[in-house]
Structures are given as structure tokens and as C-alpha cells.
Amino acid sequence: MILTDREIKASLANGLIIIEPTPDQDAYESTTVDLTLDPTLRTFRPAAPGLSVAVDPGQPGYKAKDLIAGVTEPFSLTERGYYDLESKKLVLGWTRERIELPLHGRVAARVEGKSGLARVGLSIHCTAPTIHAGFVGTIQLEIVNHGPMPIRLRAGIPICQLIFELTLGMSDKAYSGQFAGQEAT
């Protein structure tokens, strides 16, 4: 079941969902709450002419963070005012808000884009939109411009929305049981 705005607010008040800073009243729709774009982006450096490389996630020792840090650089929307995402380009962003779903809660969340932005070609995640119980942190976004024109990104714009759903029970990790510390026989 999807939580309505009333239930999202009640869950926030009761600590079943944590969003910091607290969303403004106009961030809600009937069954969603908007999150906003953090000022820090990571933009991909252009490859040097003639350089042909491939990302190889299957290679032993692959470390996504090191690779991404090596091919991107931070961009501050606070300092620069805005970033024009060119057509068919990817930029990494984050939500300004920190989300926490308690481990023993029966709530999961999905991150979805904003339809108004989608209509000009902007998507905010490539895959894996689900946030599971136990998650703590800001949400990293893979922001892609699929449209024909550059799209101007500014800090604080509503960039995505969360849909909260009740889970049927808690996950295995929320139950202590035979695996908690016993030895196999």
C-alpha cells in the first residue's frame, strides 16, 4: 500500500520515516513528497581526443568511487548559480535531504522523477530506485538529459519524488534468530 500525504506526515512525526530538513508543505502531493537538488554536482571531464577507454566493473579490484572520482569533478551550483546539462549527457547529483528508514520499520520507498522535468527530457535515476529499511543518507541521482536542448539545473529545485510503501512484514535482517551467533552443527 502506498502512503498518502497524511500518512507520510504522520510517519515523519512518529519517526517511522526521517527526512531532514523537513519538507515544506508544498513539497507534498497526494501520495508523494518532493526532494530538492543539493548544490554539489559531479560533472564528467571530457575525454582527451584519441583516448578510448571502457569502464570494466568486472575487473578484480574495481572501485566505483575511485573511478568516478577520477573521471569527474565537483561543481558547485551555489558558486556558479546553475549548470546547463547538455543533451545526451549525464551528471551525478544528490538530494539536499537526508533520508532514514528505520531498520525495524515496515516502510520502503521508491525514488521517481518529476513528470514536468521528464517532459523536457530529464531523468534522475538509471536503475535501482528502491530504498530499503535501514537506509541512511542522501540519495545519489544519475541525472541524464534525453532531450534535444540543454536543461538548466539550479540548487533547490524539486528534482525527484519519494513514494513510500508499506512492506508485508519486516525483512530477515530485522529478526534475531538462529543465525544471530550460534555455530553450525
Binding site: T40, P57, Y62, K65, H104, D172, G181, Q182
Partner: protein, 87 residues
């Protein structure tokens, strides 16, 4: 239950750090919010599998390799009764 982490480094964003967890096959990197690390450990819930001295646990986020459940040494687990669910 909590899992020990080590080698906490700066992440790609001010809201992120990257920590290393020991596993059965070596180690894994995981991106975390700094506030989720206390006493060099993170909340992970209870183990969901057992294999000798190793326990299968689910991490709060995927590792750099894209996996959420990993085998960790049971000695890297710290029991935290405050995390036990109440009725």
C-alpha cells in the same frame, strides 16, 4: 547488530564517506552517510545466513561492486541490544 568498518575516506559528496568492510573473500567498499557510523561500526540488522565463522549480512547500501549481502567474519559483528525490535 552492528558491523565494524575501517578505512573511512572522503566520498564523492560532502554527505558521503566510503568505508571498507572485511569479507570472507577480502573486503568491500560501501558508501555511507557519516552519521550512520558510530564507534567505527554501522547498523546492519541481524545476520541472515551462517557459514562456519562467517555470517551473511545485508548492508544498508550496495557496495561498490553492487551487492547488498556479503559474508563477514562473525568477530566483526557487535551485538547491540538497543536495536532489538520491541512489540
Amino acid at each position: 547488530m552492528r558491523l565494524k568498518v575501517e578505512k573511512v575516506e572522503e566520498g564523492l559528496h560532502p554527505s558521503e564517506v566510503v568505508a571498507t568492510v572485511r569479507t570472507k573473500t577480502g573486503s568491500e567498499e560501501i558508501t555511507l552517510h557519516p552519521r550512520s557510523i558510530h564507534d567505527n561500526s554501522i547498523v546492519i540488522g541481524w545476520p541472515v545466513g551462517i557459514d562456519g565463522p562467517y555470517r551473511l549480512v545485508e548492508l544498508p547500501r550496495s557496495t561498490s561492486r553492487g551487492v547488498r549481502r556479503i559474508w563477514v567474519p562473525k568477530d566483526d559483528l557487535v551485538n547491540d541490544e538497543s536495536l532489538r525490535a520491541t512489540a
